[in-house]
């Protein structure tokens, strides 16, 4: 009998912060400028230069920490991480080591281990056939990216599947996006994800040997990479071999995993406290400013929409991830005397018409009028079908739904005399259907509803039509 294994996954996420300038110098951040045009003596590591900590990056770090429920260190310090590589102008990266800015915390089901600040490396471009350093003819360095502020978020190993990892990463991404601290674009590298993966027999608690899967640059690759690694480790254990601690690369094209370096080859970074910088000591003013800059975040918003407004989870999730629509929904719900479910339905209808990226607040449809439309439907003054037509007109003209329904003749027929005549007319025009119904096939009556609705241009109430049909057919 084969053992069933449980994956244990932790993530390390690097987030490029959307500050105006770099982490330790005054250069503006680069967005695809000509190579080496966003540089200065400091980020080029010229002799004699010194770093100066970016206050905005510290504020963003504190905001992230507070948003994820971390404890903000009263005093955190920078270290130097020493290694030789051309993408590292100084021969060391300034990072945080044993005393990071934020400790502990949680987002959804996953505990946060720590968040620390550091600087990004420059970009190496390998000229020649393969595009990787081995086999390339030459390498050139673009220092534009060098020194961009990064926050590294490390989770506890709380994830149990690749799908869960992807979903959680999406929640984190949306949280950071709404915090406004980063562009969080995986393809462009402003959000990068490494995964620590191990497996263990289901039901056991000891952790297996983990491997580190580097730099998966899309949500799909994160899922594929982790699944491939789980499969690889499972195959190893099932064939009686063991997992080796190493750093791995996932190639999304081939789906294959290859080793970057083993534990023995791991660098000795010779960390020591950065003597050129003073500790980060957040003042009460800094903490208050960071706190004040935090908007309501998606997880909280989703929970609130479900509990306070009673709307379905899917819709709550949608409005939480698209907070502009969420805010609009709230206004419609309030205008509509908190008939939130109806409000949610009609806001979703409007979203379909305007597109998810549009700002409904800037559309012709003001919340009070959308609430009025929902009220028309609830009061059975307009059928749901007619209401969609009314909404089309509202988007176009910005007119009040009452006026549109009236002008277009879309209100439900209140005069049952008129409807009764139409029913009688349709019955007389369809003797074969009448035959069937009277012969005992009640379902055949449905064939008469369509022509009646057409005749009334959708204004007839479905229940009333049914009642009149039965009455006139005597069934």
């Amino acid at each position: 009998m084969s053992t069933e294994y449980e994956p244990v996954i932790g993530l390390e996420i690097h987030v490029q912060l959307k500050t105006r300038t770099k982490m330790f110098c005054g250069c503006e951040l680069s967005f695809g400028e000509e190579p080496n045009t966003r540089t200065c003596p400091i980020c080029l590591g010229l002799p004699g230069t010194l770093p100066v900590t970016n206050a905005q990056a510290v504020q963003y770090g504190i905001m992230m920490g507070l948003a994820l429920g971390c404890e903000i260190a009263p005093r955190s310090i920078f270290h130097r991480k020493n290694y030789f590589y051309p993408d590292l102008a100084k021969g060391y990266q300034i990072s945080q080591y044993d005393i990071p800015l934020c400790l502990g915390g949680r987002l959804g089901d996953v505990r946060i281990h720590r968040i620390h600040l550091e600087e990004d490396a420059a970009k190496l471009v390998h000229v020649g056939a393969s595009g990787r350093i081995h086999g390339s003819e030459a390498s050139v360095v673009d220092y534009n990216r060098g020194g961009t502020p990064l926050a590294e978020i490390v989770t506890e190993p709380d994830l149990r599947s690749a799908e869960q990892a992807r979903d959680w990463l999406q929640l984190l991404r949306e949280t950071l996006r709404q915090l406004g601290v980063s562009d969080v674009n995986m393809e462009e590298g402003s959000l990068r994800c490494d995964a620590n993966v191990s497996i263990r027999p289901k039901g056991t608690h000891a952790l297996g040997t983990k491997t580190e899967l580097k730099n998966m640059n899309s949500f799909r690759y994160v899922m594929q990479g982790i699944n491939a690694e789980i499969a690889r480790q499972t195959a190893l254990l099932e064939s009686g071999e063991s997992v080796t601690q190493e750093t791995l690369h996932f190639d999304p094209v081939s789906g294959r995993i290859s080793s970057l370096r083993s534990k023995e080859e791991a660098h000795d970074y010779r960390y020591f406290p950065e003597p050129d910088l003073v500790p980060i000591v957040p003042t009460p003013e800094m903490m208050a400013a960071a706190e004040a800059a935090i908007p309501e975040l998606p997880a909280d918003r989703e929970a609130r929409y479900e509990s306070d407004f009673g709307i379905p989870t899917d819709t709550a999730h949608l409005f939480a991830y698209e907070p502009t629509w969420g805010t609009y929904f709230e206004r419609v719900a309030v205008e509509g005397n908190r008939d939130a479910k109806a409000a949610a339905i009609w806001v979703t209808e409007l979203r379909t018409r305007l597109g998810a990226d549009a700002d409904p607040h800037k559309s012709a449809v003001v919340p009070a009028q959308l609430a009025a439309l929902a009220a028309l439907v609830a009061a059975k003054k307009v059928t749901a079908g007619s209401a969609r037509t009314v909404l089309d007109k509202m988007v176009e003209t910005g007119d009040h739904p009452d006026r549109i329904a009236e002008a277009e003749g879309l209100t439900v027929m209140e005069d049952s005399g008129e409807l009764s005549q139409i029913v009688a007319k349709v019955i007389s025009e369809n003797p074969d259907v009448v035959e069937k119904v009277r012969g005992g096939n009640a379902k055949a009556m449905g064939a008469l509803v369509g022509p009646i609705m057409r005749e009334t241009k959708g204004r007839a109430d479905g229940g009333e039509v049914n009642r009149l049909l039965r009455e006139q057919l005597g069934v």
């Binding site: 003596p41 010229l46 004699g48 230069t49 010194l50 100066v52 130097r80 020493n82 010779r270 050129d276």
Partner: protein, 469 residues
């Protein structure tokens, strides 16, 4: 002109009694024909002189490791051969752009400030103007020799473990290491960041105060810079009434040459006659200062010097076929033996598994030494010691024995580790060569140190002109 101190010259230029261009040209010619190999670069002509500024027209020599825009800044190393920075160090900018001083030249030094004799320069050793068979001390030997040899009226250097005070002592001039953080480090090519501090070399204490006053100040480009709590005053003291001097047994006895010790004790008597009280005391951890220093400074330098890899600037060894070869060959050919030794030491001290035993332990010793000094300030205004254990030594006599060379910093390293200010003033001669007297005080006590130094300077009556007359 040669007898004028910098302050006298500055006063004469402002009052119109001395022509600024003539004065600059006088020193420029002396510097250009300097016989001691003190300079690595000398200005070709005077820049425009604004006589309204306090140091207008007074030439100043700058240690090579200060970055000066467009002017070679090589830190005594082949790896920075003809490196011309795109910017100027904050402290130099304050002296020139702001105070109006005129950049005369860049001075020779031990490579990356690692050494105590200026023999570790890729540009040849500097000679001591008192005796050209001897070293001027180091690492700021060039900056000391230009003042002693009067090829500049004053100069600036840097002190990491004694690199201003020891060469000042060995060449018979005044050298001041300010409180760590008093002067910006921005633009100083780093050796050991937590210890490096710029400071003045001058003929007398008054010039020292004047030069210091223009260098200090917090700098937004250096987070560790604080400036001084009060402006530097020109000292005026004539006596030492009520001043309590502590003489630490650990730094003023064993290991100090007889002649140096005699001069030191004579000056203690002089201090008493000026009204000071003198008492023996203890800095129990000070003897461990050297060991701690030779772990902390190499550790920091192993990281600070990683940027010299041949990729972006400076020297690159040609012909390497791989990246690693390029790094290795460039650093092999670009760095001198002492620099390589310290990079190795520092790399080892920071290595995983050794960090706690070496770097971590050294930092604890550093804290204990700071505490020793703090305890001393309860009882004393100043701690005084001989500046260096001996007089200037023969060229080549200690190059084969790094430990003997390191012992030169024995009396100066504890103050560097504690980050406190200390001055070395000329204290007569031993064997016909100058010796120094060191006065150290609490952090930010520069004004009081300068006053005490002035009173002693007057009483000692040292004649510095012997070296250049």
């Amino acid at each position: 002109m040669i007898e004028l101190t910098a302050k006298q010259a500055a006063d004469a230029i402002r009052s119109g009694d001395l022509d600024a261009n003539e004065y600059f040209e006088f020193y420029r010619q002396r510097a250009a024909s300097d016989p001691y190999n003190s300079y690595t670069w000398v200005a070709e002509k005077a820049p425009e002189i604004d006589t309204r500024k306090p140091f207008a027209g007074v030439p100043i020599a700058i240690k090579d490791l200060f970055c000066t825009e467009g002017i070679p800044s090589q830190a005594g190393s082949k790896i920075l051969e003809d490196y011309r920075p795109p910017y100027t160090a904050t402290s130099v900018d304050r002296l020139t752009t702001h105070a109006g001083g005129t950049l005369l030249g860049k001075t020779n030094q031990d490579e990356f400030a690692m050494g105590s004799s200026t023999e570790n320069s890729a540009y040849g050793p500097t000679l001591n103007p008192w005796d050209t068979s001897r070293v001027p001390g180091g690492s700021s030997g060039g900056s000391a020799a230009v003042v002693a040899g009067a090829t500049a009226p004053w100069s600036i250097g840097t002190d990491t473990g004694g690199s201003i005070r020891q060469p000042a002592a060995l060449t018979g001039i005044v050298g001041l290491k300010p409180t760590y953080g008093a002067i910006s480090r921005y633009g100083m090519i780093a050796f050991a960041s937590s210890l490096d501090q710029a400071g003045p070399f001058t003929r007398d204490v008054t010039d020292s105060a004047m030069l210091l006053s223009a260098m200090v100040g917090a700098d937004p480009c250096d987070q560790t810079s604080l400036g001084l709590p009060e402006p530097v005053r020109i000292p005026t003291a004539n006596d030492l009434k009520g001043i309590r001097l502590g003489v630490p047994e650990e730094l003023a006895g064993e290991g100090i040459e007889d002649g140096v010790l005699k001069a030191f004790n004579d000056t203690l008597e002089l201090a008493k006659s000026l009204g000071a009280t003198v008492e023996t005391t203890h800095l129990p951890h000070a003897p461990h200062g050297l060991a701690a220093y030779y772990l902390i400074a190499p550790a920091e330098c192993s990281s600070n010097l990683a940027r010299y890899d041949g990729v972006r600037y400076g020297f690159r060894k040609s012909g390497a076929s791989t990246l690693i070869d390029m790094y290795t060959q460039t650093r092999e050919a670009g760095f001198g033996a002492e620099v390589k030794r310290r990079i190795m030491l520092g790399t080892y001290a920071l290595s995983s598994g050794y960090y706690d035993a070496y770097y971590g332990r050294a930092q604890k010793v550093r804290t204990l030494i700071s505490q020793d000094f703090k305890n001393a300030w309860d009882k004393f205004d100043f701690i005084v010691t001989p500046t260096a254990p001996g007089v200037a030594f023969e060229l080549g006599s200690k190059t084969a024995d790094p430990l003997a060379m390191y012992l030169n910093d024995f009396c100066t390293v504890p103050m560097s580790l504690a980050g406190i200010p200390a001055i070395s003033i000329p204290n007569g001669l031993s064997e016909g060569l100058p010796v120094g007297f060191q006065i150290a005080g609490p952090a930010f006590s520069e004004n009081r140190i300068l006053d005490a130094a002035l009173a002693l300077e007057k009483a000692i009556g040292f004649d510095a002109s012997k070296a250049y007359a």
